[in-house]
């Protein structure tokens, strides 16, 4: 197996009595596309929020490229190369599409800025909307802009939280191509409900259920796993 880019050990986060994430051990191989699946409320968003630093861990440890980042604030983790795209679209609605990606590109220190920003827009097919106010984009385009911002950060690890939600079939195909082009230079952790997308993209899959890891393996292994079938695939 390739080198491990990120490892989590005993990662835990409770909300009151609710064990949203409970003693999770997790490894990401450098350059892989790893899907994180599980029923609604399984703790997927909470888990990746712990990785990105958006939420503080209750217990456990996170190593990224061999260094302990457990106590690092979110913005410092982004600078280390962990990009997170929000499940609920969080773009700058009042700013232009260009300014949205430029903010990501300049955070990465891209010089000159404009070509770097435009390249990210080009990859998601939004070049000709650069001047438009982001809030006036269609929902699908806002999702793609969110992805473009992640790309413009030139991350080592790109975490995508349900990126295809609300995308049309055509847009999903564009999106699949984008994700495949990111690896193996970078690593992708993908939360996804659309099983077609998961099966097409993921080399490995981790299933979360009630805040715990139910199974990890290749798509074929996950499909064949009886516990997963019972808890999640349901059929």
């Amino acid at each position: 197996m390739a080198a491990v880019i990120l490892e989590a050990r005993g990662l835990t986060r409770h909300f009151g009595g609710l064990k949203a994430v409970d003693r999770v051990d997790f490894d990401l191989a450098a350059g892989e596309i790893h899907a994180l699946i599980g029923p609604n409320g399984a703790g997927k968003t909470t888990f990746v929020s712990l990785l990105s630093g958006r939420i503080e861990a209750g217990a456990g440890r996170i190593l990224f490229e061999g260094r302990d980042i457990t106590r690092l604030p979110a913005h410092a983790r982004v600078r280390r190369g962990i990009a997170y795209t929000f499940q609920i679209t969080q773009i700058y609605a009042a700013l232009s599409v260009y300014d949205n990606v430029a903010l990501a590109a300049q955070s990465h220190g891209s010089h000159p800025l404009k070509p770097a920003a435009m390249e990210a827009l080009d990859r998601v097919g939004l070049t000709d909307r650069a001047g438009q106010i982001a809030g006036t984009l269609s929902y699908g385009h806002q999702r793609l802009l969110e992805v473009a911002m992640g790309l413009a950060l030139k991350p080592r690890l790109l975490i995508l939280d349900e990126p295809t939600q609300g995308l049309s079939q055509g847009e999903i195909e564009v999106f699949n191509g984008i994700v495949q082009s990111v690896v193996p230079a970078a690593t992708v952790l993908l939360i996804e409900h659309n099983m077609d997308v998961v099966m097409e993209l993921a080399q490995r899959i981790t299933v979360l259920n009630f805040g715990e890891v139910l199974a990890t393996g290749t798509p074929a292994e996950i499909r064949a796993n009886p516990a997963v079938q019972a808890a999640y695939l349901g059929a």
Binding site: H75, Y84, F86, Q90, Y92, L95, L103, A104, L153
Partner: protein, 313 residues
């Protein structure tokens, strides 16, 4: 080239201010000089509030820091006018940094209250050390102390020109700042802090930097006020002077470079006119503000920008 268009608009405004000098009566020359100084203060306020989204109720402290650094520097430490004009922005920036380090641990309403408290503490400090500050009565700087390179700054024309020079520099720096990558980050912080953090920006340092720049502007305006108008008193450190730039900015347009000047100009003459017409002038000012909030909550230039002038910085 929208950048060019914006740049020339700002140059045209500066040219108009300069061209107005020989056309104005002595009364209005004094007024407009004061308006330009107050507009610099409001521009500083706008950098924190309009661009970065920091609603401070304590900017009088930064204005007063510049005012007293200049005034007491001249009256008690033998500083010249030039030295006073440097001491002002330095003092404003330092005090803003000190306040920001603590106040920026809070946000929203708590930030308003904490900044208000700091400014009140500053105001009471001025009153308490009446022996040095002369409290409410204030320090009057005599003419001899207000010379710059052999020019008497208490004269109408030199005063106007120095106020203009300060305003011009402040305006062009403001324009460059909001067009710079850092300016974009300030706006990003105002628009969506959570998002900005997840793009790798530390909200605390971005806001602190913006607040310090804002304090430098306020301090520069305070020092200019002391040197140009020769009066340094506690009323200028009171809460009214924290509200004033907020009103100017709201009227002219928060988050626009020319809004503070427009707001200061209109509000100054509105108060001037209303107070000559009626003793209830504060009622008229209040009514204007209500109309503004109801019909043009983005201020005059903010509304124009929404209605088509999208290139307006």
């Amino acid at each position: 080239m929208r950048d060019m268009k914006a740049f020339f608009l700002h140059l045209a405004v500066l040219a108009a201010l300069l061209a107005a000098l020989p056309l104005l009566s002595a009364y209005h020359v004094t007024n407009v000089a004061k308006i330009m100084v107050l507009a610099v203060y409001a521009m500083g306020y706008n950098i924190a509030f309009g661009y970065t989204g920091l609603l401070s109720l304590g900017h009088a402290l930064f204005f007063a820091a510049g005012l007293y650094a200049a005034g007491m520097g001249i009256s008690q430490f033998g500083l010249g006018s030039a030295g006073a004009l440097v001491a002002g922005p330095v003092a404003g920036g330092l005090i803003a940094a000190a306040v920001g380090l603590l106040a920026l641990r809070t946000a929203g309403v708590a930030f308003m209250i904490v900044t208000l408290m700091f400014a009140q503490a500053g105001y009471l400090t001025v009153l308490y050390f009446v022996r040095y500050t002369r409290g409410d009565e204030g320090i009057v700087l005599d003419r001899a102390a207000r010379m710059l390179g052999g020019v008497d700054l208490s004269g109408d024309t030199p005063r106007y020109l120095l106020a203009f020079a300060l305003f011009a520099v402040a305006l062009l720096v403001n324009l460059a700042l909001v067009r710079s990558p850092f300016g974009r980050v300030m706006i990003a912080m105002r628009e969506n802090e959570a998002r900005s953090r997840m793009l790798g920006y530390n909200p605390y340092t971005v806001k602190l930097t913006a607040l310090v720049v804002s304090g430098v502007y306020a301090g520069a305006a305070g020092a200019a006020y002391a040197v140009l108008f020769g009066y340094v008193g506690a009323s200028l450190a009171s809460v009214q002077y924290s509200i004033l730039p907020l009103l100017y900015v709201l009227l002219g347009g928060a988050g626009t470079v020319l809004g503070p000047l427009l707001g200061a100009l209109l509000m100054f003459y509105l108060i001037d006119y209303a107070s000559s017409a009626t003793s209830a002038y504060q009622f008229i000012v209040g009514a204007v503000l209500v109309v503004l909030v109801l019909f043009a909550p983005k201020g005059i230039l903010g509304t124009l920008r929404e209605r088509g002038l999208r290139w307006l910085p």
